[in-house]
C-alpha cells in the first residue's frame, strides 16, 4: 500500500463516523429546536414553511441544542478573534483549567507511584492502604468537591491549588492500580534470578520492577490525565468560579447560553483528547526507545 493509501485507510473510518455524528447532531438540533421556532411563529401569527423552520432552528440565540456550525462560530470567535489575555477568550479559560489539570496530574501521579511502591513492598500497606484507595473513589466527587473547595478556602488556600487537589484526588487512583500491577509484573523466575545475583531490593526495583511497570504506567497516565481534567472542571463549578472551562459551563447554564456551554464542552473534549494523545506519543517514543515496541 502507498503511504497516502495507508493514511486514507486509517482516516476513512474516523471521517465516516464524524460525518455521521454531524448528521445526527443536525437532525437532533432541528427536532429539538423546532418547538421554539413554531411557538415564536404562532405568536407572530405566521405559518412556517419547512425550509423556514429548518433555517430558524439553526439560528436561534438560545437553542435547546445549538447546531454544530453555531458552536464552531462561537469557538472561532472566542479563540482566534479574542486576545488570549481577554476574559472572554476560550484559550485563556482553557489555560486556567489546564494549569490546574497539569498540577493535579503531577501530584496525583507522584502520590500514585509512591503509594504503589509502598503497597508492593510492604504487606502492611497492601492490607491497610488499598481498601482506602478504593473507598476514596466510591465517594461521588461532585459531593466532595464543594467541601474541599470551601475547607481549603477557609484556611486561605484558593485559586489553583484546590482545583489541583481535586484533580489529584481523581488521578492518583488509576496510577496506584496500574503501578501496583506493573511493579508486580516481573514473574517468579525474574525475581529468583535477581536473587541468584544477590541483588538488593533497591537494585531489583530500579533494574527490574520499574522498567517492567512502564507499559502499565502509561496506560494509567492516559486515564489519569483525563480524570485530572474532569477534576479541574468539577473544581471550578461549586464556588461559581469566574475563570476556567468549568466556569464557562456554569455561567452558560445560569444564563441559558447553550452555545457557550457547548463550545466549552467541545473545548474540554479537545483538550482531553490532546492530553491523552500527547501521553500516547510519549509512551510510544519511550517504549520504542526501551525496545518494548517492535
Amino acid at each position: 500500500m502507498t503511504k497516502a493509501g495507508a493514511i486514507w485507510h486509517r482516516t476513512a473510518p474516523v471521517l465516516c463516523i464524524l460525518i455521521l455524528l454531524l448528521a445526527v447532531w443536525y437532525a437532533a438540533a432541528i427536532a429539538l429546536n423546532a418547538a421554539w421556532a413554531k411557538d415564536k411563529a404562532a405568536r407572530a401569527d405566521k405559518q412556517l414553511t419547512f425550509s423556514e423552520l429548518v433555517s430558524d432552528t439553526m439560528a436561534q440565540e438560545k437553542p435547546l441544542l445549538p447546531a454544530p456550525h453555531q458552536v464552531a462560530q462561537e469557538i472561532y470567535k472566542t479563540t482566534v478573534l479574542k486576545k488570549i489575555t481577554s476574559k472572554r477568550s476560550l484559550i485563556w479559560h482553557g489555560w486556567i483549567t489546564l494549569s490546574a489539570t497539569l498540577l493535579g496530574f503531577a501530584f496525583g501521579t507522584a502520590l500514585g507511584i509512591m503509594l504503589a511502591i509502598g503497597i508492593v513492598y510492604s504487606r502492611a500497606m497492601d492490607m491497610s492502604v488499598m481498601p482506602w484507595v478504593i473507598t476514596s473513589q466510591t465517594i461521588p466527587i461532585l459531593a466532595v468537591a464543594p467541601m474541599i473547595i470551601v475547607v481549603l478556602n477557609a484556611v486561605g488556600v484558593s485559586g489553583l491549588l484546590p482545583k489541583a487537589f481535586i484533580s489529584m484526588y481523581l488521578s492518583f487512583f488509576p496510577v496506584v492500580v496500574g503501578m501496583v500491577k506493573g511493579l508486580r509484573a516481573p514473574d517468579h523466575m525474574q525475581l529468583d534470578q535477581m536473587r541468584t545475583w544477590n541483588a538488593s531490593s533497591s537494585t531489583s526495583f530500579w533494574k527490574l520492577r520499574l522498567p517492567s511497570s512502564m507499559p502499565y504506567l502509561f496506560a494509567s497516565l492516559k486515564i489519569g490525565i483525563a480524570a485530572s481534567l474532569v477534576g479541574a472542571i468539577v473544581g471550578e463549578l461549586p464556588t461559581g468560579a469566574v475563570a476556567g472551562l468549568g466556569a464557562r459551563l456554569l455561567a452558560g447554564s445560569y444564563y441559558g447560553q447553550t452555545i457557550q456551554i457547548w463550545s466549552a464542552l467541545i473545548c474540554a473534549a479537545v483538550l482531553a483528547a490532546s492530553l491523552v494523545a500527547l501521553i500516547g506519543f510519549v509512551e510510544k517514543v519511550t517504549l520504542k526507545r526501551m525496545g518494548m515496541l517492535q
Binding site: 525474574q190 545475583w197 537494585t203 533494574k207 522498567p211 525496545g291
Partner: protein, 259 residues
C-alpha cells in the same frame, strides 16, 4: 583429595501444601567435584529443579544440608558462587543482548571497561558476536537461550547451574547447543549441574549422571561416564555411549517401578 565443590548430606525438602505434604526431596546424598559435568535426569516431579534450587539457595531444605565451595548455600549465593540458567531465557525486553549480559555485572559492581570486555568475551564464547546491540525479540529462541547462558558466564562464578535450558528448543538446535556447551565447559573449566529429561543429552554431556526417582524425590543411581571429555556428536553412535544410555534407561525404569 580435593573437597567437593557441591556436597549434599541427607538433604530433604517437604513442601507443605493444601493437599498435604509433598516430599520433593528425600535423603539426598551427593558430591560434585571441581570440573564435573553432572546431569540430573528423571521423570518430571522427581525433584530435579528443587534440588538445583536448594544448591542455589532459592529453596530452603527442611532437613540435612548442602554446602557449596565449603560454605552454606546462602553464603555461597551471597558470594555469587554460581550462575543459574533458567528454563526460559528470561532476557529483559528493554535491554539489548549486551545490556542483558551486562546486568549482573552492573549489579556486582564491575567497572565499565571490565563490563565491556566481559560482554565481548562471553558473546564470543556462545558465538553471538555481532548481536550485542540487538534486542531479544530480534533473536531466535536458541540464540536467546545462548545469550542467557552468556549472562550466567559473564561473572566469575566457577559453578554453572542449568535447569532444562534447552528443553523448549527443537532437536537440531539443541544438538548444536549441546556441542557448544561442551566446548565452553572445556574452555572455562566450570563445574556444571544440568537438569534434563533427555537421555541422549545427559549421556552426551556428562561426566556423571544422577538418575532420580519420584515420590519421594530420591537419587536412584549415580552413573559415572567413561567417555572422553573431548567429545563430538559422533560419539553417540559408539558402543560406549549406548552402554551408558542403556544403563540410564534401566535406572529410570527401575526407579519408576516401585511407584
Amino acid at each position: 583429595m580435593n573437597q567437593p565443590v557441591i556436597s549434599a548430606q541427607n538433604l530433604s525438602l517437604t513442601f507443605e501444601t493444601n493437599d498435604g505434604p509433598v516430599h520433593a526431596l528425600s535423603d539426598i546424598n551427593l558430591d560434585i567435584n571441581k570440573g564435573d559435568f553432572v546431569s540430573f535426569i528423571g521423570p518430571s516431579g522427581c525433584g530435579k529443579t528443587t534440588f538445583l534450587r536448594c544448591i542455589a539457595d532459592l529453596e530452603t531444605p527442611t532437613g540435612g544440608n548442602v554446602t557449596v565451595n565449603g560454605m552454606s548455600a546462602a553464603e555461597a549465593r551471597m558470594k555469587r558462587a554460581y550462575g543459574y540458567v533458567f528454563q526460559a531465557a528470561g532476557l529483559y525486553p528493554w535491554r539489548t543482548i549486551g545490556g542483558n549480559i551486562r546486568l549482573p555485572l552492573e549489579i556486582m559492581g564491575y567497572d565499565k571497561a571490565e563490563q565491556a570486555e566481559r560482554v565481548k568475551n562471553v558473546l564470543e564464547l556462545v558465538e553471538l558476536d555481532g548481536f550485542e546491540k540487538k534486542f531479544p525479540w530480534q533473536l531466535s529462541g536458541g540464540m536467546q537461550q545462548r545469550a542467557s547462558i552468556a549472562r550466567a558466564l559473564a561473572f566469575d562464578a566457577d559453578i554453572l547451574l542449568m535447569d532444562e535450558p534447552f528443553g523448549a528448543l527443537d532437536e537440531i538446535v539443541r544438538d548444536h547447543l549441546n556441542e557448544q556447551l561442551l566446548k565452553l565447559w572445556a574452555r572455562t573449566e566450570k563445574t556444571i549441574g544440568f537438569v534434563t529429561h533427555s537421555i541422549p543429552e545427559a549421556v552426551f554431556l556428562s561426566t556423571k549422571i544422577v538418575v532420580m526417582s519420584p515420590r519421594p524425590g530420591q537419587i536412584y543411581e549415580v552413573i559415572e561416564s567413561n567417555l572422553p571429555r573431548d567429545r563430538t556428536l559422533d560419539i553417540r553412535d559408539s558402543v560406549e555411549f549406548n552402554d551408558i544410555a542403556h544403563r540410564v534407561r534401566e535406572g529410570l525404569r527401575a526407579g519408576h517401578a516401585y511407584d
